[in-house]
Amino acid sequence: MKKLEIITRNHKLDDVKEALTGLGIKGMTVTEVKGFGRQGGHKEVYRGAEYQVDFVPKIKIETVVEEGIVPQAVEAVSKAARTGKVGDGKIFISPVDDVVRIRTGESGPDAV
């Protein structure tokens, strides 16, 4: 199993969700986050004074999938979230040792 952590633009949340559910992925966790990468922050202007806003609001989507589906998921998410401009976000892929469904006690891929 692998965990995908997808950092994307706020308005791309629905597109990414549809891309993932379209592959049969059943669950995900969404968090509103702030951060910056190569895009850096952005400028805001109040009464003529410029402010540099370092931390840009983004959405983080976390989902755990079976290993075989990872390449398709990455491709689908990339397609859905891409605008081609700096700041489109990242996908982090990491191994998951185990998953336990609390209600039933199932573990492993069955619990995802």
């Binding site: 202007v45 109040y46 009464r47 003529g48 004074a49 402010y51 806003v53």
Partner: protein, 406 residues
Amino acid sequence: MIQSGDTAFILVSAALVLLMTPALALFYAGMVRSKNVLGTIMQSIIMISLITLEWIYLGYSLSFGPDVAGVIGGLNHLALSGVTAAPSPDYAPTIPHLVFMIYQCMFAVITPALITGAFAERVRFLPFICFSVLWSVLVYNPVCHWIWGGGFLGAMGVLDFAGGLVVHLTCGVAALVACIVIGPRKGFGKRQFIPHNLPMTVIGTGLLWFGWFGFNGGSALAADGIAATAFVSTHIAGMTGMLTWTLVEWYHVGKPTTLGACSGAIAGLATITPAAGFVSPNSAVLIGLMGGLICYTAVLAKNRFGYDDSLDVVGIHGVGGLVGTIALGLLASTAVNPGGADGLFFGNASFFLSQLTGIGVVGGYTLVVSWVLLKGINAFSPLRMEENDEEIGMDTSEHSETAYQA
């Protein structure tokens, strides 16, 4: 003799001016960080209670009591003694004296509230209250008497229709002194102080504008042609100020902003205030334009001078009152208001000079007294919040409440 039309109009105007104080609270509160929103609102609305009490027991008499040597009103009207439903022959012969008193009370309430924008986000509540009440007694009341209550500036011919000197210049100068004495917010110049809710500021602007019709229109003290002149010139200057600021900002920074439009409107409204009942509509356009342009420049200058006037009280109200008082000296016309004067552009240089004198006297007096007062209070009870409290924010550290639950 009491006229019911005049009385109704001034009563409604008084209510409109009262509305300006909570409107100001919203205007200011939108521009601070979310941890200081309630503290900022509190600094304005508490004035309704405090200054009304000060006004009825002392301030009205000091401002409008029988003149003593041109400097201050006598104590004859303490606790509203002699202020009844009968009209006052000295001030407004067609409305009850009580109506005149309560109308003027609303001006006394909003003036110290205006100052709070300068030291927003960093002042302790108790010394702030002491400052506001004492400032009203020592600055607002005498200056009000000098110009409107039969004092020496009025006798010299200084005109101020609705408070360019009495309200806006005094609060602007006090604001400048306050932000220098109290010092900048923690992290000023390094950290960012971004407005937390500009729609709140927009609502405040709308309500201030609405109230300003009572502020300026009602200053005619009768429902007559002068009130019409003041009402129209108020709206004209507000809208010109808004447009001017927006266009200048668009050109200068690259984008027109909501805060800019609101700031320009308030700048135009503040600038027309002293002149509202004395100038023609075309002059009002010019005054609004000057307000938008000069106040915008003044706000930018703040960044250059490096003092932390948090919400630009100096740049918008102080400079607006100053520019409006000068503009009145240039553009006043007796063809518009026979009870006024002709300005420099209508051949009357002496009136222009008396306006400049008014600025010098009121500005100088306010500066000295505000400075002494702030230093004095600071010695007894520090005005500045403790570093940790300032970091936590006024809402929690001063008032134990939170505006927004996570």
